[in-house]
Amino acid sequence: MATIDSVTTSTDAHADDSHGHDHDHPSWLAHHFDTPEQQFDSGKLGIWLFLVTEILFFSGMFCAYAIFRMLRPEVFEGCSQFLNTKLGAINTGVLLFSSLTMAWAVRCSQTEEHKKLVALIATTLSCAMVFLGVKSIEYSHKWGMGLLPPGSYFYSAANEHPTAQQLVEIHGFSESMAYFLTNSLYFICAPFALVAVAVLVWLIVAKVSGNAFQYACAKPLLVVALSFFGGVGLGMILESGGEHHEGEHVAAAGDHSDAEHGEHSGDDHGDSGHSHSIASDHSEASADEDGATMVESPLGDDYAAVKLLAENETNTGLKDLVAAERTQQSIATGKVLTDPAASDVGISTVESEVNTPRQAGVFFGIYYCMTGVHAIHILAGIGVLVWLLIRAVRQDFNRQYFGPVDYVGLYWHLVDLIWIYLFPLLYLIR
């Protein structure tokens, strides 16, 4: 009795309604704990400590980011232009929403609203899947273009989407690797498709065999598995929109790339955007400016409209703006892709070796490490959330025992929070 009192008073005063159950040792109370509060507090402290280790785990990469941004700001500025801000923003929104549903799920577990809890966990899971779907579009798109870590970087503005054959002949990749790089989206989607099919089979089997519990588990999980492809579709639509301004440099690089462009199979969803931009911009872009024009304008999507307006002779203000834009862009981005001698971004001298595309891959090395480890954390989160979902269907949680939902929630918020840092650092800061 003394133990119970001291624990209750010293650590946790709010859960006094559970005091009466102390001696029952309910099934969810582990044998080595005296009280539910002690168990909850231990778990809570444990998960916070775990989150501390997670932050420190990421801190190494944030450090590397800071160091290399300081050492090679021009590489970071130039390369971050390749990231699609729209996709990043969508993913940020999706994760923020999933944090909301997760926090709500914690509340529901406390109030014993079991059905709502299942629905909210399933929503959180679906958001995680959408995130991964969008991410897989981003990844596969970059892999096809050769925006890779320095060891395998092969991006060239002249030929943005090399075919598998070209990869083997020019860049020395093995046949299978080249095939993978040009069709990476299928490879990423394959395991998710398998999972979706497996869940579907499970659902049917559970329905046929009349196992209500398994059916109740499989139903939300099928939605979850399918939402990955929702994410892929969303990513495809946005990426093709996002390619609008990237299309400019495809055009600038010359019509010869256009022919090859149609061939690549992995992500040719952007073709309509290309043809449009070719028509509108080709005349203005000169061949040696291709590196500069590929950069996204600070004016963002309005830029196309501004340019359209600037075509009118009387609109001198906008004409000047567009001209200034171009000059600024050619200066700001020259480090990566244009002649370094002509560029000046406030750093007095730049060694020319830095500007080989291979070295520019340092940015992508860090990009893939940070987002990749983050994606692994999303996957781990999906794993524990599925476990939670099944337990929630089983109605394991009650007002005295909702610890696991709470802990997973905290973990999920951290994963979200890390993305909130990654998004501006990688996509927005230019």
Binding site: T3, S42, G46, E54, G60, L148, V362, I366
Partner: protein, 580 residues
Amino acid sequence: MSNATLPAGARDPGYPTERENYLTNSSGILSWMFTLDHKRIGLMYLIGVMSAFAVGGLLALAIRLHLLDPNGWMFSGAEANNIYNQVFTLHGAIMVFLFIIPSIPAALGNFLVPVMLGAKDVGFPRLNLSSFYLWVFGALFFVTALFSSGLDTGWTFYTPYSTTTDTSVILATLGAFILGFSSIFTGLNFIVTINTMRPPGMTWFKMPLFLWATYATSIIQVLATPVLGITLLLLIAERTMHIGIFDPEFNGDPVTYQHFFWFYSHPAVYIMILPAFGIISELISVHSHKHIFGYRFIAYSSIAIALLGFLVWGHHMFTAGMSSLTTIVFSALTFTVSVPSAIKVFNWLATMYKGSISLTTPMCYAISFIFLFTIGGLTGLFLGTLATDLHLHDTYFVVAHFHYVMVGGTLIAFLGGVFHWWPKMVGKLYNETHGRIAALLVFLGFNGTFLPQFVLGSRGMPRRYATYDPEFAFLHQLSTFGALLLGVGLLYAFVVLMVSLVKGRRAPANPWGGVTLEWQCTSPPPYYNFERPPVVGDPYDFHNLEWDAENERYVTTEPERKLVPESTPEEVPVHAGGQK
């Protein structure tokens, strides 16, 4: 019974029944493999780290035997130097990652922390078991690395060599990565256990000092190890994908690797030494039968070391090309760590002063610890000083300093701890005489091995060389013979322990006269440790202990309590109406 000589209120928990004894309450290999009992996990860890130590120790002997001759004695042929490189690398990696880091916290700590807290188990028993299996997997990776193409980078995996060598760096770093998680989970578990599961009455400053040390260690494990994890992960990525962070060929920066690595690995040496401090604090006090001197100072200095340990990693890199300002700052910070360490040593000496010292086997180890750790700590000052470090960097002086702290410190304390808690863990007493002889052999062998290395280093013998100038031959040979003696001593100690399992007398609950809670349960403890939370007092107050000569054990006595004195006092104070 013999309790006639004892006061009436003598308490002793007696002996556990077969069913209660944690070793025998369930049987079969599965009952061990899937056990959640922290004591069994601790014992499995003990077996594990001891096997790792045996492998690492044999590799160390191979190193020393090779250095018997200036041109190399042990390995011959064209590959001799490569083999030597692999042997010293594996010696370092196995000893650091598989032995020293988990030795005291995971093996002894797992056994002791809940018992010292009077708790039934650690906070997360399943996490505890998984951390043991992570250790096993990590060890398997190391073994695989050993049998595939070896590893010759040194245990530090410095780039750019580690990104270019064709030995199995990836296997070994994956192993270290997994071991890191094992270490994190152990630390996390202990922090939670100590925070939330202390018994009623045990405030922070009534905790045994071993728990303070474990707590400080756990803080470092939780805060530093993830950084090692990501560093090794980036190293693997660098090797496989050339991400260009560490590899200069791809515009990476090798010094960044060193910073990342030492940000973990310097605090890691405190992971290795802090629990040793905790053991020594227990041993010195119990075997001197005297209250620990400066309890709060020892407790705070553990935390101080844990925190200061995070600020000094740069002293491993004085010659790596940091700016002179950085080196000066790191050098100055390095000296701050020596303050709490010195506080501990002085407090231990003050505890022994006027104590009633029993020169038992654990105490022999504790006294050697103080002697050896002091030498190790003081020679560290020469390495922390910029000017002398430029001369001594990467010489045998560093090797000797490190081994004086890690072997003379941690290993000796680990042995002391094992001998101290052996009766509690297995319920058998070992032969004291042989135990002491083993301790003496270890002490002599150790000094024979590493004292000459200080001289070697200051004369300019670089570390990690397979061959050397003939002028160093005498000291190297001295060192090799010392190592052989050390090996014999350790083997002897092992045999003493093993023999005790077969022939040892049954251990009483309290053979040494300790007052911390683990001595209040039977030897070995029952699987539930304590039926009800035990009464907590001052962990170093030895007044209520009495030696029971008949049964050769200590028993807890209660001072006889009387409501009214039986005899009338001879003098009555004046204010009570008395007259002289």
